[in-house]
Structure formats: C-alpha cells, structure tokens
Amino acid sequence: MNRMDLVGRKLDLRQGLVDLSHGAGGRAMARLIGDIFVAAFDNDMLRAGNDQSAFEVAGGRMVMTTDAYVVSPLFFPGGDIGLLAVNGTINDIAMAGAAPLYMSASFVIEEGFPLADLQRIAQSMGAASRAAGVPIITGDTKVVERGKADGVFISTACVGSAPAGLELSGDKARPGDAILLSGSIGDHGVAVMSRRQDLGFDTDVLSDTTALHGLVAAMMAVGGASIRAMRDPTRGGLAATLNEIAHQSGVGARIDEAALPIKPQVAAACELLGLDPLNVANEGKLVAIVERGAAEAILAAMRAHPLGVEAALIGEIVADDCRFVQMTTAFGGARIVDWLSGEQLPRIC
C-alpha cells in the first residue's frame, strides 16, 4: 500500500499551484511526492518511501552519469522537459555501450507552477521510464520562490553496467574509421524553436527525443568490438560532436553533405532563420565512430532497428594535425564544419 495515501490534503490537480509548503518537508510535500511522482513513476522501490533505494549489481564495470534539464518552453511538439530528462540521461549511459539500470530525478520547482503541468511532466517521465525499462527509484523535491526557476528544473543521474573489456571513448577515433549517423539532424532544435513566439513560424516537425539504448544494443551485438566511440549530438548539433571527437582524438574528419539525412521541413526552417542544421540540437540521434571493416554490418543493424531507419555512413576520420572537420558540400566545394560560437542566433543577413 502507498504509505503516502492518507497524509495531507488532496491536491487540486486541475487548478492548484505549487507553493512553498510543497517543498517544506511536511505533509504537503509528502502529498505532492505521493500523488504526483510516486504515482507516475510507479515502482516498488519508490513506493517503499525511503530517501534512497538499494539494488543488486551483477558485478563488473559500472557506468554513471548526471544531467540537468532547463529547456524552455517546457512543452514542445513531440515532447516535454520530462521526456528529455529520462531519454537524455539514458542516452548518456548508452553512448558508453552500457545498459542503463536505474535512474534518479530531482526537481527544483518554481512557486506558482501549475500542478497539472507538473503531473503531465511526471507522467511523461513515467511512461518513458517504463518504455525504456529503467525505473526512477529515488529523487528529491525542492520549491523555490517565484522567479528563481524557469517553471521547473530537473536534474537526473543514471547508473548502468558496461560489458566487460569494452571502453568506448572519444579519444579512440583513428584515421580510416567510418563515421555513422543514426538519422535526420536538427529535428529537436527546430521543434523547440517553432514554439518561440518571436520567431513566428509554424511547422509539423516533432522533437526526436527518444532513448537509444535499444539501438545501441543492436549495434553492439553485431560489432561491439569495432565501435571506437559513440556520442549523441545534443546542444551544438552534429558539428559540436564531430569537433569534440576530433579534438579528443587528435584527428580530422571529412563528411559528405549529400549523405546527411535531413527532413525537408527542418532544412526549410533553417533556411528561413539563417541557421546551419549542423549546429541545431538533436535528442534522439547518435554518431558512431567504427572500424571501417565493420561499418557495413553495423549500418545494416542500425537500419533494421526502428530508431535507425535513416542511418547513414556520412564520412571518415582522417589524419589532420589541425583537427579540422571538413565537409564536401552538395555543390562540390569544400568547407570547414566548425563549433558554434556563442549562442545560436537567427540572422537577417
């Protein structure tokens, strides 16, 4: 039985607002945690009602990650901050080739935040967590004064177990390696931007937020030993990820613009705003650096998986002391793909 059932006053989930008592450690907070978080995340460990949860591990190497989510707006086409929090955290574990096991979630909520929205976010997280098979087993709740948090901030951690002998790392890329991309770029960034009033454009593009550990498992099964590194290109886009890896490994990269999957509406939105899709955020894609010989097999495994249907071989790692990431344009010329400088700003010129 849920011990939180009989404590405190029933929440007005339709019209109620979060107030400072919900973070004060008393009955109101217990009610909030019970009715919203425990109900949505729905697992026995959380229902036990402790400040921590214990679990067995099989032994071997563990992997741990932590993340914070501050996206604005909180709700956008294809998802919300909660979905990003669960999927994004799982993805960090998955990029190490590890299996995600358990997650934690902490909430810093702004006074005045609608309970209905909080419930919506929690339910989103619960659904994502169940779909991924990664329960949220512990958490924390704080409420801060109006103006001190943008609605809600979510901080997470996740632990996973890595297969023995496997060490994927961004510094392992070598000249000759193939660069694989799991699908279309720029979806998430464009979806979020379309909600900004001041940019004023309408589009059907949905955020691509998803948990990638299933796709990763399929790739590992076929060629785990041949994968040097994996990374999911989030803020800063594909350009940032390729540059990070190039710098970590002390190599260059060459990619082919014509090979990059991109949805027509994403390309169009970027044209309108004067943005480069290579710099736009993704939340459900991965880049894999793999040994050239294994590239075809791994690519086939990706394409056979629902999250990798548009996977493509987009280029190769090359020797380059300058660590440039170069791109052959669809036009036949060449250019550098650089890190984004400062904040991404639409341009008029």
Partner: protein, 76 residues
C-alpha cells in the same frame, strides 16, 4: 547581404498580410511592398516582408541559360 528566401503564398490574410510556405514551414508575412500577389505565387521574403514577386517565366529562362552554359562546358 540580406537573407531573403523564396516562399509560396498559401493564404491571403487581412491587413495586406499573407501566409507563406517554404516546404511546409509556414510563416506570416506582410505584402505591403508588393502588388498583385495571389495564392500560388512565389515571393522573396526578408525579415517578415515580401520584397518582390518571383517571375516564373524569367526563372525558367535563367535555369535554361544555366543548363546551356553548363552542358557546353562539359562537352568541350
């Protein structure tokens, strides 16, 4: 210098405005500086304003010229 994009008019709106589409991405734009624009026409869009109507015939002529110049270049 001025990022201007060709977009198709999909709907005329009151107050000399229009909804335009670039491959399915919709934007509202002002038609204050162009005349005789109807649904289906293409305009050049710059910071929320249509600055010119694209002449389809001239566009075809340009493409034909490009193709001609390019093909002669390849043959010789």
């Amino acid at each position: 210098m001025c990022l201007a994009i060709p977009a198709r008019v999909v709907e005329l709106l009151p107050d000399n405005m229009a909804r335009v589409s670039l491959d399915g991405v919709l934007k509202t734009t002002s038609l204050a500086f162009v005349e005789g624009v109807g649904v289906g026409d293409y305009i050049v869009l710059h910071v929320g304003y249509a600055l010119a109507k694209i002449d389809e015939e001239e566009a075809q002529r340009t493409l034909a010229l490009l193709q001609e110049a390019a093909s002669l270049g390849v043959l010789a």
